[in-house]
Amino acid sequence: MRNLLKSRVLAWALVGLVAAAGSKLMAQAKPAAPAPVAAAPAPAAPATRYLTKLDILPPQITLSTKQARQVVAVQATYSDGITEDVTSQAKPRLSNSAVARWEKNILLPVADGQCELIVEHAGRAVMAPVAVTKAAEERPVSFRLDVMPIFMRAGCNAGGCHGAARGKDGFRLSLFGFDPEGDHYRLTRELNGRRLNMASTQESLLLEKAAGKVAHTGGACFAENDMYWSSIVRWLDADAPNDTATIATCVGVDLYPKNSVLNGKGAAQQMVVKARYSDGSERDVTHLALFLSSNDASAKIAKDGLVTAGERGEAFVMARFATFTVGSPLIVLPKDYQFKWDTQTENNYIDKLVNAKLQKLRITPSGTCTDEAFLRRVFLDVVGTMPTVEDYQKFMANPSPKKREELVDELLTRKEFVELWVLKWAELLQIRSSNQMSYKATLLYYNWLQDRIARNVPVNEWVIELLGASGGTFKNPPTNYYQNETDILKVTENVAQVFMGMRIQCAQCHNHPFDRWTMDDYYGFAAFFSQIGRKAADDPREVVVFNSGGGDVRHPVGGRVMAPKFLGGVAPDLTGKDRRQAMSQWLASAENPYFGTNLANMVWAHFLGKGIVDEVDDVRVSNPASNQELLDELGRKFTEYKYDFKKMVRDICNSRAYQRATTTNPSNELDTRNFSHAAIRRIKAESFLDCITQVTTTQNKFPGLPTGARAVQIADGTVSNYFLTTFGRATRETVCACEVRLEPTLSQSLHLLNGETTGNRIKQGDLVGKLLVAKKSPEQILEEVYIRCMARKPTPEETNRIMVLVNAETDKKKALEDAFWAVLNSREFMFNH
């Protein structure tokens, strides 16, 4: 035993060492390279840079009423894509100063009329129209439009402060202002006479606390007599009125500039936020919006909306106002970074869009991977198996210049391709037996799904069938979707998360803080699932799901009955119709902007290891796509392909972006989101077990499946084994994409090293023994093991060094099995690369 262990360790060390020297994993194994900025060539003067574009932000200005104001920024765009905030350098003037006036970078109304704001910079001039109306009129103060935004901006109604479920220090506001009526009540009626001092408005506790004039746990949120203070005083002086039911509501928010590329640390950019209202009016809300940045290290944003560039990187700066969160992407480059974009071969539209983004980021993508690497990668990704020795030889010997495309086409016809996607969908549809769902129903449901995917039924068609399903859970298996989860709100959340990639859970209790979803949206969408009837069927294990035609969802604030409204869409008239059918028809159509892109993103994430939106089921304003154009195009293509998975897979697998090598260059070394090099990915638990089974020529036995069945074929989410659990098989208890765990863990390594899977299977399969019987030489056997496991031949160095070990051992079989064991424990085998 000791001997065995020793030889194994030795062999392992060798494989690791040699593999590292010879494989693409090598680059990843190296110690981290210095930061790309430091590695980049020394900055040189921007010799060739010239101004290409000058923008006034916002491009149109309307000033209505005496209270109107507009922050204006001027952005210059240069030939190399760099942008610059030139507001302070630019020379602004108004075509008619009787209409408006310019004060620093703020435009204020003077008198009704129209004029132009003309800005000149570096020899260029641009113009923005300015319209002033009701310049002499006071805008009546409004609780919702003037006061509530201050609570958000100052953080009063945040979860950590008075927005907490039970408020803070005895005072409660609705979280992010989802309940203005309730907030007004609590301010004016609750503890009457304490919060507001109508006799001496400036001495109201509300103001004194907020300004820090009296002890306040939250400290000073704004200063005495600043604009926020004044707004509240103005409201108090008007007797703290509540708004009428017809008060305008915010219908949209715009954040400017839409794109920025900042040149070096310290570069700044002023953001401008404009809100649009239901009465057609517009307001500058830069001073009322709450600003956030997704990456403070690269782009820190101040309370007033001024972004300051930091380290090289990408950021998404966001402004939250009313129920809206809007964002704008921002790139920070090292100062005067010199970069030369080498023309890249582009196989299809994917490459064009990926490269466009890389070019923007000044990242040079890695080269194309070897045929061997491609073979192994595409097998693992498309069919979830290792290429066989025959597959390897056939592919390597194929002289066709289009052999990669041919291979992809061939793999797409295999049954294993279907099984892999059935597995993926089974996870999302939570196909697992439970107290509510018998094993029979589970299997029927799984078989239904398998049938749809095997017949290449367009996803939209089977999704419509699934979500609109009625009938017995045995007779019409997709109805199990509604048996699996019977809670209306959970079903609502699951549908949004699986088919639209959105986690709307937050909006169950309050408006989503990082997305556009309000409670109205949430309960309006939930209303589609409020009329699901369930009744007993003949078989005690079966349930009949039907459209009960009655039942409503009520808004928890005020208890109003919510009319069904598509998430982000219209509220259709569904009188007398099956709400679920209407919903499924809309959901799985091009009308729903999220369906196609979400599915495309799921496919993309499977092949590239990371979604364009990451996680794939976390689409939200504050989690933007790393390449929106690419995502949109993939979504468009997917819709155009009539949701044909195979076509989508073909596009992706044939792209250069997919076929890149894992080796990196200094410019893309730290890139994890822009697909500039191939990612090294852990193989999914089921596929990995199947691969081990395949290379060791052994068989699996799972409950409910015949001997020899593959792990990807397990229908029931509750079925697992030690290996699958260790390697992160989804339990299908939730719809979350995070259920499949792909992070490597110590217990995984230990299981492979010491567990029964590798050692026992090598013995059970007796591959080495069989090859020895077939009179193969140790070198040939070693080569076969390498091809089976790594899809490549061992390098001469690997062969030589392992053969030394083998030759030193009298028991050749044992020595070769040790080498086999070492290969199975090498990183090159354990990862898809």
Binding site: Y439, K440, K535, A537, D538, D539, P540, G704, L705
Partner: protein
């Protein structure tokens, strides 16, 4: 068919064995199963009955006619071989069967009689490419092991029908949900069937061969489960296999044209001769030149005229007319189809309106509406009996009525048949023996041993009538007599006792029990015994999947057992809120020493009895404590005690005679006053007595429930006692606090037997004495002026209540304070 003719039996000739002598026959025989599970009709076959305690088998009891028992050969205690012969017209399908031994009757199991010959499944047949070749028109007896798939190949000519029907769950053996499919030689599934409305979990399907060639029938467990117990009988042949029938009902004795639907060859017309006395589960099999379908379609035998729908009848204007509220038959032919009938009705007519669809094997999930023509529906129903609809209506006007039928999910198809029956509610009674254990057949048959007795509970469900009921038994074994009391109107279960004469022959019968109103002015309504034999339970939560409904009770006179029990009938009553010790005496045959367990069978309302007791080994007597609640129903009840003892490895059951338990009102009522006392002092608890039944013999009354260290003497109660006063001596260490649940137990004597009363009820408060005030202790020279507070200490005319005492004390304090 009378119960007499239901009984088919074979008497075993003398069992001549060398080891007969001293061979003790085991009691409570148990039947595990019969193999093979089915036989071909018109043939002879040898069956193996296996189970436990099957020694000395006497008779094979079939509930249906047609199977003749040729011989019964005991093999050992757990196996019996039985040769049977079936006639050519023997009923197709399941035949419930029991085995009667000299000492008892087994559970019911099933045997199937089929028109086709059997063939055994031969493994390996789990590879599609290597199926088991079989002849057309055979029944495969097979087993589905875990993940097993069985393939059978048959050759067909183009246009020939191939039908397959599996009996898995229906065999009543184990939880087994089979799946069948017919595939062509290229592995394409032509048709598959997992479940079916007729066969429930059992599938059936049928195709017309598109080409000459080999066809494969696959059978497996639906979820690739299975085990050695998952037996099946797979019928493969070119017999017709329709899935619906219209009309699925007719009048008794009538000859009717019916159309079978759902067969791949198209509708099949057939004449049906309806028996005049059809059993409740009457079914009609489709039959043509190619064969007969292995399971029939349920058929309603009711004296109602048939109306068949005439399409189009989707709107009230197109409604198919009927002469009145009769039986309306039709098919929801396509998805979205609605069938409408119109008939004239009279105001005040009351009808039970049943839609028979799933009950007749139709996939239809009916929704039914009834409206006065031109008005909105006044009655509607979706699911009432399973998915079938039912409502009871009183017709509101002399008008035409519109009856609408559709599918709940707006589905439809060629076999979505239905039959709506309008029947007037009629009184009837259903009798049954309540189960003693869930899903068990234990004590569902009655074996009464020679010279002994056996009791059982009997339930009577009275539909559409009420009042006292009189029960009777029909077709008991000769020498057995039936006894029971009148069932009071407020009860639906009473005990019955069957007694066998000492010289009765050991014989069995399928007996019938009937109930009729005790009021002689009322007519006797139809009554029927029903027994549900639960055969298969399964998930979720132990749900019943397969059962038999039997319409007769198996009663047998068994060989003697060596013990007998008798209850010493109490000569005194059991009073409300009282108790009694019931004496049970055992008579033992010499040499029989085993302990005997006794159990109460029946508790009258408000009476409870000790769950069981045991007459110890060699003992002859024991008691059961009976308690009556304060609201126990006053009545002289007839009841019985049952007992068992192990006789030769199995429990032998007997019962006592039907004895009278007289529940009466207490002889007197008692009102106890509340007591309060300080530790170490004495007090009294006076009790007022109101005698309601004259007391002839003085009784003893003691106070019960006193806290420790408190004692009170026992008192006598006589005919004229009006008050009893318990003098309580409270020790210094008696626990302080409020002590509730103190009452009196009175033991009165009637006919020399004790009548235990629990009467009264009060509480006693024990206080810790107030420590004497230290300062107040000094001015002791109180007795100087006045001649002592004699008036207080003087014997009082009237005993003071606690409240009065407190008042007095307070007055005294006030006086002293002045």
């Amino acid at each position: 068919m009378g119960p007499n003719s239901l009984l088919a039996r074979a008497t075993l000739m003398a069992l001549v064995c060398l080891f007969t002598q001293g061979f003790l026959h085991a009691n409570s025989p148990s039947l595990g199963g019969v193999a093979p599970r089915g036989i071909q009709r018109g043939t002879e076959a040898e069956l193996v009955f296996s189970g436990a305690r099957l020694a000395n088998p006497k008779e094979v009891v079939f509930y249906n006619p047609g199977i003749q028992v040729l011989s019964i050969t005991p093999v050992n205690d757990s196996t019996v071989k039985v040769k049977v012969k079936t006639g050519p017209d023997c009923r197709i399908g399941e035949h419930p069967v029991r085995l009667r031994t000299a000492l008892g009757i087994t559970e019911v199991r099933s045997l199937f009689v089929d028109p086709l010959p059997d063939v055994a499944e031969k493994e390996p047949n789990s590879d599609f490419t290597k199926p088991q070749k079989i002849n057309l028109n055979t029944v495969v007896n097979g087993v589905v092991d875990n993940e097993d798939v069985d393939y059978f190949a048959v050759d067909l000519k183009k246009g020939q029908r191939l039908s397959a029907e599996v009996f898995g769950m229906r065999l009543g053996g184990t939880f087994f949900d089979p799946y069948i499919a017919i595939l062509d030689s290229k592995r394409f599934e032509l048709i598959a069937s997992d479940d079916s409305p007729i066969g429930k979990q059992d599938g059936m399907c049928s195709i017309v061969a598109p080409d000459d060639g080999t066809y494969i029938v696959q059978v497996r467990e639906t979820s690739y489960g299975g085990n050695g117990a998952c037996q099946y009988r797979l019928h493969i042949g070119n017999f017709p296999r329709p899935t619906a029938m219209v009309p699925a009902g007719g009048k008794p004795g009538e000859e009717l044209d019916v159309t079978f639907l759902g067969d791949p060859s198209g509708p099949i017309k057939q004449k049906v001769k309806i028996p005049a006395d059809a059993p409740a589960n009457f079914a009609v099999h489709a039959q043509d030149a190619t064969g007969i379908s292995p399971s029939g379609l349920p058929f309603r035998v009711v004296s109602l005229a048939n109306v068949l729908e005439v399409e189009p009848n989707d709107t009230p204007g197109q409604a198919s007319p009927g002469p009145g509220p009769v039986a309306f038959n039709g098919v929801i032919g396509k998805p979205g189809d609605v069938d409408i009938f119109k008939f004239p009705g009279k105001k005040g007519q009351v009808f039970d309106v049943h839609c028979y669809a799933r009950r007749l094997g139709s996939p239809l999930d009916s929704v039914m509406y009834l409206a006065v023509e031109g008005a909105a529906p006044f009655a509607s129903a979706d699911d009432a009996v399973g998915p079938d609809s039912f409502f009871r209506v009183t017709l509101p006007e002399d008008k035409n009525y519109i009856l609408t039928i559709q599918d709940h999910l707006k589905k439809g198809g060629t076999d979505y048949s239905y039959r709506v029956e309008f029947t007037s509610p009629t009184p009837k009674s259903t009798l049954s023996i309540p189960k003693v254990a869930l899903f068990s057949q234990e004590r569902q048959t009655i074996t009464v041993h020679k010279g002994n007795r056996m009791a059982s509970l009997m339930s009577v469900g009275r539909a559409e009538w009420g009042g006292d009921a009189t029960l009777r038994a029909e077709n008991l074994p000769p020498g057995a007599t039936f006894a029971c009391d009148t069932m009071p109107a407020n009860l639906d279960t009473i005990p019955v006792v069957i007694e066998a004469a000492a010289d009765a022959k050991a014989e069995g019968r399928l007996s019938q029990f009937r109930a009729r109103p005790s009021d002689p002015k009322q007519p006797e309504f139809p009554s029927q015994f029903n027994q549900q034999a639960d055969l298969i339970i399964g998930p979720p939560n132990q749900t019943l999947y397969w059962k038999y409904d039997l319409e007769a009770e198996a009663v047998a006179v068994g060989d003697e057992v060596p013990f007998k029990i008798t209850v010493v009938e109490p000569k005194c009553p059991l009073v409300q809120n009282g108790s009694m010790q019931l004496r049970i005496i055992a008579e033992r045959k010499p040499g029989f020493t085993a302990p005997i367990n006794v159990y109460p069978l029946f508790n009258p309302p408000g009476v409870s009895t000790q769950g069981s007791n045991t007459i110890p080994e060699k003992g002859t007597e024991t008691t059961l404590t009976i308690n009556a609640a304060p609201n126990a129903q006053i009545k002289a009840w007839k009841t019985s005690i049952i007992a068992n003892a192990t006789v030769a490895g199995g429990p032998a059951w007997v019962s006592s005679q039907l004895f009278t338990l007289n529940v009466a009102a207490p002889f007197f009522a008692m009102a106890m006053e509340r007591g309060a006392v300080e530790q170490g002092k004495e007090t009294e608890i006076p009790c007022k007595i109101t005698i309601t039944t004259p007391i002839t013999t003085p009784g003893k009354v003691k106070i019960v429930g006193l806290p420790p260290k408190v004692i009170a003497p026992e008192l006598d109660i006589k005919a004229d006692t009006k008050e009893l006063v318990f003098k309580l001596q409270v020790d210094k260490t008696a626990p302080a606090g409020k002590h509730g649940n103190i009452f009196c137990q009175a033991i009165m004597q009637v006919n020399g037997e004790p009548v235990v009363h629990n009467v009264g009820g009060t509480e006693l408060r024990i206080d810790v004495p107030i420590p004497p005030k230290v300062t107040a202790a000094a001015p002791a020279p109180m007795p100087m002026g006045k001649p002592a507070p004699a008036p207080v200490a003087q014997p009082m005319e009237k005993r003071l209540t606690r409240l009065e005492k407190l008042r007095l004390e307070q007055a005294e304090r006030e006086k002293q304070g002045k």
